[in-house]
Subunit: 379 residues, 2 copies
């Protein structure tokens, strides 16, 4: 689904080369990438919204804007958080260039941050940020200044955090005077549509809340948001300005117009229903063709996280998989500790009718990879 790049950059890591290779081939069924379903994008409505935004007689969205973002958009985000129990005002919200930037800003705003704790399986983009900043990252408590979590819907697992664990996290942050980065990017993909109370609703002073339109609407707009703790709000805004002055005005104005028409709620319902159906199809298929692999059925999100005790290299398996005409995301991207073979299979962007064929190809690739080991064992 990703656009092809003829001028692929030099010096990519092996798994990146494989991902590019797979994306460039129309013969490869992609279970990789974690992309939203592009057939869900309300292209016509977004085009109409943009037309209205460009027709505004004052305040052209093509001009520079303030670093904190569009007033109406900030009010929308604050209102949504209020519906979920939060006490957040529009002036607390910073519009960012996607959730990725919101996480980067949160991290830079935490004073003297040296260590970050993450879940055993976590979002690779966040790991990039933490490692790029030279921080120590661990998936166990080690006196970190920041804890990065996805309580509403986690990626890659698609699970929801228990209330007990949430209370524990907030108590720990208060006791250790550390900060929680609450990545809420996937919140609205929960299949049943039920939204949970975010951490930021129970604790403003220790929580950075991160959200985005990328999962519910489309990622190409690059519009997300950050609600920093009040004591670090100024720092966070300076960091936002330092990084790229402001989020793009065109997309912000488009969103403001789109949100006015009131179709977003029904759009999100339709999207959740689609993802729920595709998840079901993938789960059935994996159970049938890959019976030895373990997973917990996701309640939301875009993917199935699969683990096994097999001591098989995930990059080796990916190479074989691409040769068999299917791709996936190697598990190593999501982990800081080593473990047995793991992979993320995404059901979000793939066409439903391709899911079963994709899984069958993966099963054949896995079989092929295990053959030499068996042969050795037999010899």
């Amino acid at each position: 689904m990703k656009r092809r790049s003829r001028s692929a950059p030099l010096g990519l890591a092996p798994h990146e080369k494989l991902v590019r290779l797979a994306a460039a081939s129309t013969d490869v069924i992609s279970l990789a990438g974690g992309l939203p379903d592009p057939t869900l994008f309300p292209t016509k409505e977004l085009g109409d919204a943009l037309f209205r935004a460009l027709s505004r007689s004052h305040d052209s969205p093509l001009q520079y804007g303030w670093p904190e973002g569009d007033e109406a958009l900030r009010a929308y985000v604050a209102g949504e958080l209020e519906r979920r129990g939060g006490d957040v005002s529009p002036s607390d919200v910073i519009i960012t260039s996607g959730a990725q930037q919101a996480i980067a800003i949160a991290l830079s705003s935490i004073p003297r941050c040296r260590r970050v704790e993450v879940d055993p399986e976590t979002y690779p983009g966040a790991l990039d940020i933490f490692r790029g900043a030279g921080l120590h990252v661990n998936d166990r408590p080690f006196g970190a200044q920041a804890l990065y979590v996805m309580p509403s819907v986690s990626n890659p697992l698609g699970q929801r955090m228990s209330d007990g664990r949430k209370r524990e996290i907030l108590a720990q942050a208060l006791a250790e005077r550390s900060f929680v980065i609450e990545d809420d990017a996937n919140a609205e993909t929960w299949f049943s549509g039920e939204l949970v109370r975010p951490l930021v609703a129970d604790q403003r002073d220790r929580v950075f809340h991160v959200g985005t339109f990328s999962k519910t609407l489309c990622p190409g707009l690059r519009i997300g948001w950050l609600v920093p703790p009040p004591s670090l709000a100024r720092r966070a805004l300076r960091e936002k300005q330092r990084l790229d002055l402001q989020a793009n005005g065109l997309a912000q104005a488009l969103l403001v117009e789109y949100l006015k028409n009131g179709h977003f709620e029904s759009h999100k319902r339709r999207a959740r229903e689609r993802y729920r159906k595709k998840a079901r199809r993938l789960i059935d298929s994996v159970r049938r063709h890959l019976p030895k692999l373990r997973f917990v059925p996701p309640g939301g999100g875009f993917s199935l996280w699969i683990q096994s005790e097999l001591e098989l290299d995930d990059e080796e398996l990916l190479k074989a998989a691409i040769a068999h005409g299917v791709s996936f995301d190697p598990g190593r991207l999501f982990r800081v500790s080593r473990g047995g073979l793991a992979l993320r299979l995404c059901y979000s962007a793939i066409e439903e009718r391709d899911i079963d064929e994709g899984v069958q190809r993966l099963a054949r690739a896995l079989e092929r990879c295990l053959e030499p080991a068996r042969r050795v064992a037999r010899d």
Copy 2:
């Protein structure tokens, strides 16, 4: 011209509060901000281009894209640099979220960068980046690992660098194994339209080249570019991905479609002519009403940089100016060393007919600020 924000963030610096105050009042004539003229934005053509971009049957610009950016846009940038003598291929170009981000990426890509040398008057956004990263910044040679310059058209001065100085800079970078960040953002605003050979054309290995569509087309798209030295290309691309995954796809696709219609060259000619006329008007007005202030007439850019020997605080003057119904950018924002009173007066976004009235108001405010000093002198 900046959009008003009712929820202005807390904890702004004094000059920021003044700028916001001035921007929120329709009674204040703004000689501040360095914004392009919004009446130049080809809104209708950009809307049409966007419509075409959204009508593409494949590769939706609303989906995620690669971090390096749109292939066609990279080819355009490489082609433009080639026209100016550069040997740059599309695969050397990274599309960024504006020039600001390109500078931030350049800086993070330089190994062990502790010190940055800048011009005595320079772009405040770059100073934000350098200071935010905790670097030492100086406007004199001090063994810096990076030199930040604007050779084609400088901001705030609107001047062009001499060939001798350019050779010196490149020789120094080679000798000291340091890097040059060449900010070419204002290149195409040079009034005569003549484009110079960029530093990157003479030296790929030591030069980061930075450009943008913000000055020629409109800033709200947030699309710029970076050409890093080949040896640091991989680092730069990782940093781009780490910061916000990719530049927004909608604006990239819009630009690709807009550039196809071939109207960009005539648009740039029209814009240069407009800015040249407004600069002339401002220069005449300053000569008439502020005869004691010194400046060098700019050859391009958006502003007039004014210096004086007066020991008057620029923030005091700004306060008085706003009370008199005019605003400007205080000189301290552009400097790392202290000096006499300096201010940046922007002619770019103001309506031509308001220029003379704005300058007269400023002259009265200056007069008022100097009165107490004179009175003390007389007593």
